[in-house]
Every structure is written in structure tokens, then in C-alpha cells.
């Protein structure tokens, strides 16, 4: 079945696209029902929701693995899991969190659902390619989890799969092959989604929705999609080479045949560092949507935000070898300088976020609390990142728990704090009902406390010399007390996610309906119904600033284009045109 979208005049005088099928009849819900309806759906909202649910399930799996790791480390020579099992668990924890949760939740789930709504599009540009992306992602996730079921267990070489540890001699068995194939599938899935997002944002914007009126979330997703197109093909290519090394007798990454193990690190981190920003930028975008809405102000420094995002993305692709300082074969000044430079646009973003909050009428909803939690968490991770960009500090702390604490604070700060801020913020749009705000605040405070209790001791124990990826450690070095605190923190975080599950359950069973726009929000997705209808809009408001829905609902408020001008504080500010 095929629908043709044509703009028509609707009854209330507003104009917008309406949907007729190719035979010219008004569109009705037709086609398959039940499970087949889900399997055949090419609706970006259904696909986005499938992405979000799948990635959340994998997030819980990976979280349980983290708890097992933390219990193991609470005592110096625990025998809860064997060394091999420990290696499998931290490899799969990292792989699930990075490849299958943090990225797909943002650019497969939220972006898929929200970006077409935010730019007034009826769907993604290539709906069937979009569906294919999801099926590749789902089958890639299943493939990765299958690693636990095969003889020899899952892969054990960490999420980075360094050569020569990942070759057929050091990592024999099916587990590593399955891991490689899972990433090939999810890599293609990400590339297709990237192409789809770029085409959607370039070609399907509503009239008047110029590039510099797009919401910052959409901007960040555009930049993320370009980063995906830069980074993921390199990873997929490197994985194919690794597979050839393992099975077809090539020597691309082995010294014996004239290859270079460092080439793997070069290729992997040329993917891996942009990947960090593929995981971070969408979440910056979520926070930038939430701060203005709950401060009752337009976003401060709109263009500064856009250019900061562009420069972060550009710089992030030139810094890959700062993960390789200790190999001794990389150009330290070049990579150190570019890495330190990223702090500048990131700092601009921080000041703009604070500027957005500054003298606003703050409403501390659950979404806002998570977004503010993101500011603190990411700041701490970012500052230690600047420290690690300096080679002398990196030489001292490389592969210690200092680095573990750093990247957990960065990624937990973005993907988890800002990610769940997005969930609380957009849940009413997805289902037309609210999540419980009180339980949301419990979730936030438990997670916020657990976060600091878990990761701050890891900085200290890292500086004391505890290396990463060890299942046991000597008892006389004084590391145990820090590890116990960290384990307690991990359980506080786990409790907070039990609260989230309860919140999702109770909000589903005893729904509290909300209107189409419960937050009095700014951007276009809040103009349509909650949940949005098939093909999203029956009519559109005029788009005259970067917050068309606000302009429509507050006609006496000044249309402040691009976030410039005086924000309304308390009283409505009247400005003559």
C-alpha cells in the first residue's frame, strides 16, 4: 500500500498535508493487523518505538552484567565468576551499552520518532530502508547475545577487540566471530539510519522551516548522522579485515605477515572517537530541548549551539589517536592539541545551557531534573577528559580505573541522564499519557546519588594504580574499600532502575491522560496530537521562528527568532512588529 501526501486546505483554515491513498480515497487504517502489522510497518513512529524498547531491554541486560562485575570486585579474590566469564561479561557489558543501547536508543529510537515530527514531515525519507535498519539492528542484537550460547562463550577481548588479542590464536572459537558479525549487522543498520536522517532533514522540512529554525535536537541528529557516515564504514571495513585475518589467512593486523597491529587501533579509533560523539551529541540535543521548555525561555545562543555542535563533530574526527598515546607511535602534539580544543565548543554549550536557565521560570519536573543531572555528570566526565588529553597524565593513568571512571561519567552523564530526561519529556507525546512525576523524581535522586557513589571512588582507586579489566587484585594495596563503595553505588543505581520499571508499569496500567502539549512546549512535535496520527499532521501552524508551537499558542508573545532578543520573564513582553 502506498500513500501520496498532498498539502490541502483543512476545515479550520490552516493548511497542511493530508493523506490520500493512490486511488484518491481518504486514508483509513487498512492493511495487516496484529503481529504482521508490526512486522510490515514502515511508520517511523512504530520503528522508533521498537528501537527504544529493544535498546532499553538490552540496557537492562547490560546493567545486570555490570552488577555481577561489581559484586566480583567487592572482594579482592572473589570466585563468583571465573576469569574467562569475567572477561566475557565486561566485553558484553561494553558492547551492549555502546553499540546496542546508547547509539540506537538515540539515533534509532528518539531521532526516528521525533525528527520527522520536529520538521513537519509525514515520515522518514526512505520508510522501507528505515524498517530494514531496525531489522538489521534487532538481528545484530540477537546475534551478539547468541555469543553466550555457543561453545567457548562470548568474545573476551573487550569492546575494542585489539589486535593481536583478537586473532584466531588468542581468541579462538565462535564467540568472537559472532561478535564481529553482530557489529557488521548493526553497523549497516546505523549507516542506513544515518543516510535516512540526512535525507529527511534536507528534503522533507515543512515550508518556512529553514535550517536555522530547526530545533537543536534535529540539528544535533543531523550532525550525528554525518558523523555516523564518516565513522561506521571504517569500523565495518576493519571488522571485515579482522574476520579475514581470523579465517582466510590474511595478515593485515599481524606482524608475522608484514601487517601492523597498530593499524587495528588506528582504524578502530577512527571509528571509536567519533562514536563517542555519536553517543553524546543526540543527548546534548535532548537536554537543549528540555532546558528552554522548563525555563519558559527560548534557547540561549541558538546559532552558537549549532556552530558548537558542528565544531565538536569536526574536531572529534581528528583526535582518534589520543586513545593510543601509550603505543608510542602517534603524533602526541597533534592529537593532544585537537583533543584539548574540543573543550572550547563544549564550554560554549555549557555556558549556553546555563544562559538558558538563567533568570528563567524554572519548573523542576522529572525531565528537567535529569537534564540538570546531565550537566553535573557530563561536566565531571568532561573535565577529566581534558586531563586525559594531556599525554603526561595519560601515560600515568592509561588503562587504570581513572579512565574507567572518566568514560563512565561521560557516557552515563549523556546516554543515561539525558536519555531518560528525553524519555520523561517525550513519553506524553508517545502515548498521550503521563509518567508518574513523583516516581520519576525518586528515580532521579537514587540514580544521581548512586552515580557519584559508584564512580568517584574509581577515580581514586585508578590513581592508586588499579588497572582495568582485572577480575582479582591483591588485598594489601588498600583498593578494597573503594571498590566496596563503588559496588554499593552500583546497587543504588540498580534500585533507581527498578523504580523506573515500576513507574512504567503503573503509568501503563493506571493511565493519567494528558493533552497534546502538557509541557506548553516550543517545538513542532507538540502541535500534533499525542500520540501523533498516521503521517503525523493534518495541518501545520505557520513557522516563523524556531518555536512554532509556542508562537501559535502564545500569539501575543514576541516571536524571537534564533533565540536572540529579550526573553519573556514573568510578564508577557509585547513588542510591536
Amino acid at each position: 500500500m502506498t500513500d501520496v501526501i498532498t498539502p490541502t486546505t483543512t476545515g479550520d483554515g490552516a493548511h497542511g498535508p493530508s493523506v490520500v491513498d493512490v486511488a484518491g480515497h481518504e486514508h483509513e487504517e487498512h492493511g495487516p493487523t496484529g503481529l504482521l502489522k508490526w512486522v510490515t510497518s514502515t511508520d517511523h513512529k512504530v520503528i522508533g518505538m521498537s528501537y527504544m524498547i529493544t535498546s532499553l531491554v538490552l540496557f537492562y541486560f547490560a546493567g545486570i552484567m555490570a552488577l555481577v562485575l561489581r559484586i566480583q570486585l567487592a572482594t579482592p579474590s572473589s570466585s563468583l565468576v571465573s576469569f574467562a566469564q569475567y572477561n566475557e561479561l565486561f566485553t558484553m557489558h561494553g558492547s551492549l551499552m555502546l553499540y546496542l543501547f546508547a547509539g540506537p536508543f538515540a539515533f534509532g529510537g528518539l531521532a526516528n520518532y521525533i525528527v520527522p515530527l520536529q520538521i513537519g514531515a509525514p515520515d522518514m525519507a526512505f520508510p522501507r530502508l528505515n524498517a530494514l535498519s531496525y531489522w538489521l539492528y534487532l538481528s545484530g542484537s540477537i546475534t551478539m547475545m547468541m555469543g553466550f550460547l555457543v561453545a567457548g562463550g562470548a568474545s573476551e577481548f573487550g569492546w575494542v577487540a585489539y589486535a593481536p588479542l583478537s586473532n584466531a590464536t588468542n581468541s579462538p572459537g565462535l564467540g568472537p566471530d559472532i561478535w564481529i558479525m553482530a557489529l557488521v549487522l548493526t553497523g549497516f543498520s546505523a549507516i542506513f539510519t544515518g543516510v535516512n536522517l540526512v535525507a529527511t532533514i534536507f528534503y522533507l522540512r515543512a515550508p518556512g522551516m529553514t535550517m536555522f529554525r530547526m530545533p537543536i535536537f534535529t540539528w544535533n541528529m543531523l550532525v550525528t548522522a554525518i558523523l555516523i557516515l564518516i565513522a561506521f564504514p571504517v569500523l565495518t571495513g576493519a571488522l571485515v579485515m579482522l574476520f579475514c585475518d581470523r579465517h582466510f589467512g590474511t595478515h593485515i593486523f599481524s606482524v608475522q605477515g608484514g601487517g601492523s597491529p597498530n593499524l587495528w587501533q588506528n582504524l578502530f579509533w577512527f571509528f571509536g572517537h567519533p562514536e563517542v560523539y555519536i553517543l553524546a551529541l543526540p543527548y546534548f540535543g535532548i537536554a537543549t530541548e528540555i532546558f528552554p521548555v522548563f525555563s519558559r525561555k527560548p534557547v540561549f545562543g541558538y546559532k552558537g549551539m549549532v556552530f558548537a555542535t558542528l565544531s565538536i563533530a569536526a574536531l572529534s574526527t581528528g583526535v582518534w589517536a589520543h586513545h593510543m598515546f601509550t603505543t608510542g607511535v602517534v603524533l602526541l602534539p597533534f592529537f593532544s592539541l585537537l583533543s584539548l580544543l574540543i573543550a572550547v565548543p563544549t564550554g560554549i554549550k555549557f555556558f549556553n545551557w546555563i544562559g538558558t536557565l538563567w533568570r528563567g521560570q524554572l519548573q523542576f519536573s522529572a525531565a528537567m531534573l535529569f537534564a540538570i543531572g546531565f550537566l553535573f555528570a557530563f561536566l565531571m566526565g568532561g573535565v577529566t577528559g581534558v586531563m586525559l588529553a594531556s599525554p603526561p597524565i595519560d601515560f600515568f593513568t592509561h588503562d587504570t580505573y581513572f579512565v574507567v571512571a572518566h568514560f563512565h561519567q561521560v557516557l552515563f552523564g549523556t546516554a543515561v541522564f539525558a536519555g531518560f530526561a528525553g524519555l520523561y519529556y517525550w513519553y506524553p507525546k508517545f502515548f498521550g499519557r503521563m509518567l508518574r512525576e513523583g516516581l520519576g523524581k525518586w528515580h532521579f535522586w537514587l540514580m544521581f546519588i548512586g552515580f557519584w557513589v559508584t564512580f568517584m571512588p574509581q577515580y581514586v582507586v585508578g590513581l592508586l594504580g588499579m588497572p582495568r579489566r582485572v577480575a582479582v587484585y591483591p588485598s594489601y594495596l588498600g583498593w578494597q574499600s573503594y571498590n566496596i563503595i563503588s559496588t554499593v553505588g552500583a546497587f543504588i543505581i540498580a534500585t533507581s532502575f527498578a523504580v523506573l520499571l515500576w513507574n512504567l508499569w503503573i503509568s501503563w496500567r493506571q493511565p493519567v491522560p494528558c493533552g497534546d502539549n502538557p509541557w506548553d512546549a516550543h517545538t513542532l512535535e507538540w502541535f500534533t496530537t499525542s500520540p501523533p496520527p498516521h503521517h503525523n499532521y493534518s495541518h501545520l501552524p505557520p513557522i516563523r521562528s524556531e518555536r512554532p508551537t509556542w508562537d501559535y499558542h502564545h500569539p501575543d508573545s514576541p516571536a524571537i527568532a534564533h533565540g536572540e532578543g529579550r526573553p519573556p520573564r514573568g510578564d508577557k513582553v509585547l513588542v510591536s512588529p
Binding site: T40, T210, N266, L267, L331
Partner: protein, 130 residues
């Protein structure tokens, strides 16, 4: 289309510059190759969009003063449901499993992929607009 093409051309210019700096400071070929590749990744679509901007001028979604009526006409044709992405996805799934578990996965995989490609092409032709 102008801003869109400028973003991608900006990618090309930045990585061209960084690539040059990197080559002349390190003489390391792996990283330079990737930076040059990234430069081309910006250059090709960027110049394509610029070409179309020259021919089309500013579209309604590029103009500050455009009204919703300016977008009148057919937007695009969207399939509202299709089984073929699922079939193609399962074909790809079995194809990669063939590399791990053996060639017996290979034949059903190719069958699914060919069926899906034929199916999706036929579906597009029936739709008439895709």
C-alpha cells in the same frame, strides 16, 4: 539547499586542511588516507547539493517567509506498510550467520535476499511514484 551543501563542503574543507597538516607533521599513511576519504565524503554530496541549489534556487523550506501553502503539491509517496524490509533483514541475518556457522545458512539467505529485492522493486513499480 545552500546551507545544506555548505555544511558538507565545510566537512570537505576542514578534513582537507586537517589531512594536509596531519600528513606533513606525521607522514603516517593510514590516518591520512582516512582523513582524505572523509574529505571526499563531504565533497561529493556537498557539490551535488550545490549543483541542485544553482538549478532550483531556494525551496519553500529554505525561505524565511514561506507559508505552508507554498509547499502545495505532492510531497512524496510513502509506502504505509511493506513486508520486504523484514524479509531482506532476515536474509542479511542468515547471511552473516553463514560466516559463523557454516555454508548451509548461505543458500536460504541468498533466497531470502533475492526474493526481497524482487519484491521491493515490484512493489515500487506498482506504487507508481516511489
Amino acid at each position: 539547499m545552500r546551507n545544506e551543501s555548505l555544511i558538507l563542503l565545510g566537512v570537505a574543507i576542514f578534513f582537507g586542511f586537517i589531512g594536509l597538516v596531519y600528513w606533513f607533521t606525521s607522514y603516517e599513511d593510514g590516518g591520512t588516507a582516512m582523513l582524505v576519504g572523509t574529505c571526499l565524503l563531504g565533497l561529493l554530496p556537498g557539490s551535488y547539493y550545490l549543483f541542485w541549489h544553482r538549478r532550483m534556487g531556494f525551496r519553500p523550506e529554505d525561505r524565511d517567509d514561506a507559508t505552508i501553502e507554498d509547499g502545495a503539491g505532492e510531497v512524496e509517496t510513502f509506502p504505509s506498510s511493506s513486508i520486504w524490509p523484514f524479509v531482506l533483514g532476515m536474509g542479511a541475518f542468515m547471511l552473516v550467520l553463514a560466516f559463523a556457522f557454516g555454508m548451509w545458512f548461505f543458500f536460504p539467505a541468498v533466497g531470502l535476499i533475492v526474493t526481497a529485492l524482487v519484491g521491493v522493486t515490484a512493489e515500487s513499480r506498482r506504487g507508481g511514484h516511489v
